[in-house]
Symmetry: C2
Subunit: 466 residues, 2 copies
């Protein structure tokens, strides 16, 4: 039977480690198409781990398409692994390494924007105007931070909607926040310790790991990231999303924000990276000021993106550096070219300047508000309602749904997948979720097709009845 | 008088170190607008360096706009340094940290594409068609390597024009080669030693330094990068442009290419990064096969860009990984989103697929051929011709012009600047140029305005007569 070592697994949890081992063997062709995987029970016994660990690993592989399951028979390796064409054979019928992405009836895990929400006709018009008016500018290399007029427009937007007062010179535009995080590591230093939220976006940890810098996971309490743990792990830089934490949905209150600023003020090398990724979509209540706007010590690096508010496939993000760091960036890193095409920078500049962005955000906020209310209404009127309670529904584009059940999260997730429903549990975002944790699920509603909602909730309900 | 320490200057040459010190002081406001800089002679005496070192540093600062000169009076700090707006003041009249870029009558240092050469109407048509046809695809997150159809189109292009046979899965699209180099460091390892060409593009060294990896400068001989030095510096990865080296213009012959492949074959950790940046523009003679196409050991990572062939402001580059590295990328780094917008990926796919790219390249090759021949003709018929000899004029978009003169390079560069002509000398690309080196200048002709060429050559001639 398959055997993997659990030594050297680093920070990973047991299920995560197992998931990675199996995934690697599939990618490298050790496990081949349609090979049957061991049953959960016997595999667990063989490895000396709990059945839940194996279940979690299988569920993850299943959701990513690496394996498939046949009811009452078991789990099999997906048929996508005849690998890259070798350099010596170029048949037209060669197979693709990346598995086809499965299409879900409803995907509660996706925070993509829906195609029908993108303002295609306005964007096409602005792109056309840009190409008519700006031939010379379109072909002129912009400064490393991006086209000045776009950065002016972003500064204006931040002033008006977020009460953030910065000069365009502090704004650096780049092709996605992931890219900007990489620049920040280069700017702040490879010798620094970076603290990230636990639980949190897996990708943030992956980026810091890919840059091979020291990072520590800091737990959250009811107010946000824990300051005592920040101190004890000797972090230099803390990377947080205080406006709307993923996945817990927590909004960090003003008191903890000030505490974070005081933490940062204690040493020259300390900085806060504030990822404000979906602050535009706070649905009710007065927004809490951004850390950036209450920072008097130049300790906050503000990061935001148009990928969430406009289109996830248009890679335009920006960061706002405190003046001292902006100067250092210019003196040490201005050799880097801006990674966003001039065409999209100028089109976005017009989009902001001519008021389209504001209109778009308002339209989307209404749409999401309705979508959320409709979804809550459907849940309320479904038999599911007697099993669930909803929290954190006011900020951003997801909420939490606690299910009162004895079914393990991984099993529920798998049952849902078999019904075409993708959903993630909060426990998946912990490196070591407590075995007796509550069954809390993350409900992203930005990518749901409205017409599918009633049926999706009905299917979720049926998962509890099997 | 100004004093700088020359300790801890690392790999930098004396002039480069001095240039950086002064630039930093200007950026940080230590040296303020219109402050007079010391005369070259007295400054050199004070610092204990040669006058040529100071001259070189001043010339560099002048060419970047940090200082200006007044004939017979001296050098002054430019008036751009009232810095970033402080976070507490947001006057509308705040000044910009980045200096205005000077406009040159002729810029022999630029390899940008000219606005009039970009196929705006075709691109506008393709963008329009893309937005009409592809609404769903435009909003769907592509795989980490980019949109599959674009990678197929690139694979087709490589097969047809470069005899490179690879599968689309080996191709990874990214927002510029600088970004791809960063990914490669993450993939190949922070613990590796990276060898780069000396002389070479300054930016390549800057990127490796910014990632804080070990790098060594390896000298070139008449055939390309020196294998003996590669061995002695214990490089793991060598980063080269064998098709057309910048700045020397050298094309590495086939024998050295095979020697490089044997060097790489000697250890598992060895790889060659082949930057093929302007191979499309080889003007005469049969092209030498890419290293990638003669590599049987999966040791070559091929990198190319559309920034050179299409528009320098459209950030679309790609790398071709050997299958084993492609698999590793997918298993370890596929969490990264592709950094190029779907809109431009689909438009470029059509541009390639529908034959526009081929037409564009042919048109540009003719244009550059004519431009080069015209420039050579003007030089030949000018009084400058008795002072100069031309070499390396057949590959890519620049050639070398040796001037028979006693005037130091830095002085000639400065005289040219005062006449609105920007030009770089080969010596600037060496960390320590030999004091008695020949006076060789780099003539990029892709960005020249054709109508300015006769006057530009006349002005260059006058620089020799002062």
């Amino acid at each position: 039977m398959l055997t993997y070592s659990f030594d050297n697994m680093g920070d990973a949890s047991l299920y995560e480690h197992l998931y990675k081992c199996i995934k690697n063997d599939i990618i490298h062709g050790v496990l081949t198409a349609d090979m049957k995987l061991p049953s959960k029970r016997s595999f667990a016994a063989n490895l000396g781990v709990s059945a839940i660990t194996v279940e979690n690993a299988y569920a993850q592989l299943l959701s990513e398409g690496y394996i498939y399951s046949i009811a009452k028979k078991g789990y099999y390796v997906s048929d996508f692994s005849k690998h890259l064409a070798e350099t010596t054979s170029y048949g037209e019928d060669r197979e693709v390494l990346q598995p086809e992405r499965p299409v879900y009836f409803a995907d509660f895990s996706s925070n993509q924007t829906r195609p029908d929400n993108f303002p295609f006709s306005v964007w096409a018009k602005l792109m056309r105007e840009t190409m008519n008016d700006k031939n010379n500018e379109l072909m002129t290399r912009p400064p490393c931070g991006g086209i000045y007029e776009l950065r002016e427009a972003i500064a204006g937007h931040l002033r008006q909607f977020r009460d953030i007062h910065v000069s365009p010179e502090q704004i650096f535009v780049g092709a996605g926040t992931e890219y900007l995080y990489g620049l920040l590591i280069q700017l702040l230093g490879f010798d620094k310790t970076y603290a990230i939220e636990h639980p949190g976006y897996e990708k943030i940890a992956q980026i810091y790991d890919s840059y091979q810098v020291q990072r520590c996971l800091v737990n959250m309490d009811g107010q946000g990231i824990r300051i005592d743990e920040l101190e004890s792990c000797q972090a230099d830089v803390v990377h947080i999303s205080p406006s709307h934490h993923f996945p817990t949905g927590l909004v960090t209150p003003i008191s903890r924000r000030y505490a974070l600023l005081s933490w940062a003020a204690k040493s020259d090398s300390r900085y806060i990276i504030e990822d404000d990724y979906d602050s535009e979509f706070r649905l009710t209540g007065k927004p809490i000021p951004a850390l950036q706007s209450i920072d008097l010590m130049d300790k906050v690096i503000y990061v935001n993106t148009f990928s969430k508010s406009l289109a996830s496939t248009m890679r335009i993000s920006y960061m706002v550096l405190p003046p001292s760091l902006a100067r250092r960036f210019l003196s040490e890193m201005s050799f880097y070219s801006c990674t966003v095409s001039n065409f999209e920078q100028y089109a976005l500049m017009r989009f902001l300047r001519e008021g389209y962005f504001e209109k778009h955000i308002n339209r989307m906020r209404n749409h999401y508000h309705k979508q959320r209310d409709y979804l809550l209404e459907i849940i309320k009127n479904s038999p599911l309602s007697s099993y669930v309670s909803i929290t954190e529904e006011d900020a951003g584009l997801h909420f939490l749904m606690k299910i009162d059940t004895d079914i393990p999260d991984a099993l529920l997730i798998e049952r849902a997948l078999q019904k075409g429903i993708r959903i993630n549990s909060l426990s998946q975002y912990y490196t070591a979720p407590p075995e007796n944790a509550e069954h809390i699920f993350i409900i992203n509603y930005s990518y749901l097709e409205t017409a599918h909602i009633p049926e999706a909730i009905e299917r979720l309900y049926r998962c509890l009845q099997e």
